[in-house]
Amino acid sequence: MTIVSVLLIASVLLLSPRGVFAQAGDANAGKVVYERKCLLCHGEKGDGKGPAAELLVPRPRDFTSGIYKIRTSANKTPSDQDIFNVITHGMPGTSMPAWDVLPDRDRWNVVAYVKTFAPERFKEAPKKLDLPKEVSSSAESLKRGKEMFEAIECNKCHGTEGRADGPSRPELKDEWGQPIAPANLTKRWNFRGGKSRTDIATRLAAGVLGTPMPAFMDSVEKPEDIWHLTNYLLSLGPDDPRYATLITASAAREAIPDDPNAEFWKKMSPQNLPLVGQVVVDPRNFNPAIDLVAVRAAYNDREIAFHLTWDDPSESKAEPDKKIFADAISLQFAPATGSGGERPYFLMGNDADAVYLLRWEQGTGVAEMTANGPTKLQPIAGSEATAKVVFQNGQYRLVIMRALAAKDPSRPAFRQGVFAPIAIQAWEGGAGETGTRMSLTAWYYLRLEEPQSNRRFVVPPVVAVLTLAAMLAIVRAANRRR
């Protein structure tokens, strides 16, 4: 075998096309796959009333309605490829997972089968949606996009800065009368139909059927405004949450500001943690409102400060008769790390082992507490923690401060260079979250970084100089031998 043929085989292996071409599926074969994989949510009759339906927000799709959210068509009929793409990539931010684990054939068969639930809808052929000519992003385009964002009233549902906190939010209902939350435009990894430029422009142009999101193709002034809007939406948040695996507290030489909007905190990059629903203890929380908390942390020789940022559409204080509770967040630590890295139970400890909490609550402020489980919280007398909060356009920014040293054994001391367990719990009181109805993280680690040493500026030049000397020696030796 020659080198050329090896190269050819390798390039064929690496470059083989991954694209999938539309195939006509077999509805009968699709039924078998559907009943194994889809039935428990979407129901035997395709009406979205499977046994899991009542626990899910948003609810599973009712295929008998023939209403499809994600379309690349200008009319109400989705193309087969549209349905195939949703099955393949799932619906980010919902309970619909990506079924790319199934063979292509199975997925095309399922497409054919779900279409049989609403044969009327598919009598009309999908009409291809033509997007206007693409406009790339620029300062002018962003300016125009922002103008359009306000002109066509995106902010009424999605909020001034896109955090799903617009004034219409409480009234929004879907086709089936279920309350529906607007998309948080700063978290586009949760966009149902995908987060690429074309995906977003298509959603804007064609709308999302069955939801209050209309098609905007005809309400923008000029067709290319769709792209200006797309560019603006893309500027609202990061592409990816880049979840952290470790929380690092930076060493600060100066005093740490307690103002959450201070320049000091803005310069620090966020360490994002994903939060999940609490499903261990009743009442459980299958659809948590807060799914991400961004942590920044700093310490100096006297105190340690945690800067927390999370999205919450409404600032709520306790009004139990309206089923509204105080928004709250707590940072959880282990009072003392045992030998062998043993930690208390991640869900706020248990009867045997307590955890230490820095718990902040809307209206009452921050308190130091110990907990022996999610319902057994005990404030520590003489709490020394302080906090300052800002709520702005659907976002909380909170700074919690405490002394670095511990006064007694119920409080942990924070030490440099140690991996100390840390976890977070959060409550969106406006969505009825309180007590065990929370979102939380499992244990992570917090590390107080040692002040930067100069090693990284000394070692590399030494390595480079030594290598240079070795290289010169080799060249000389080679020339001498000649």
Binding site: S95, G277, A478
Partner: protein, 249 residues
Amino acid sequence: MNVLRSRLLHAVLILIIAYAIFTFAIRPPAPRSVLAIYMGVVILATFVYISSNSDSWRNFLRPLRDTLVQPERRLVRLAVVIAIPILLGYYAYTQAAAKAQAPPELRAVHPAPPASIQFRGKEITIQGFDNPLRKDQANLRKNIAAGGETYIRNCMYCHGDNLDGKGHFARGLNPPPANFQDPGTIAMLQEAFLFWRIAKGGPGLPKESTPWNSAMPAWEDRLTEEQIWQVIMYLYDATGQQPRRWEAS
């Protein structure tokens, strides 16, 4: 054709192609340490190939030596002598400036089960015990369907619709939820072992081989004995795995 016969080019091409195949063609991706071993073997084999006879060896060395000594290659030589120290210096910088990584969560994958457990005040044998619902062949499908319902209402959020441990809460949990499709999980375990782990969850893990960080709830408070055996049947049915049998003693 002369260029194509160069042993140096052969060696470089073999290494690039091998690296590309190891990196892109192995799915799921192999860990870096394994890649390093594979590449080590390939480098060794390449040296055997180029040094198989002295002509070949000389052919391999010639371009290298030319670069070092030939007057007309001065510019290339200068570039190499400058570039290599800079590259190594940069590598040293990335190593010296490396940030701390979270310590790994070490754990025993399948801890030894207890001989028996207390289930809502009733003693249930674990060691050597079989799923009692398996004997009821007539209701097999009914039990599996009921298990599926229990699964989707309780377990799916972490373990996933596809039972692959990729439910929507999975990304927030460390250690990640068990992947039942993986042949290293339920296929290696007896049904009674699963009963113990489902009933007692993370809090019921044995004291040895700590620290645990399992977020698995103890389901004995919420599910009945029958529901747990049904879920277990569903897990095996939906993944196509077979439960392990107890060794006859």
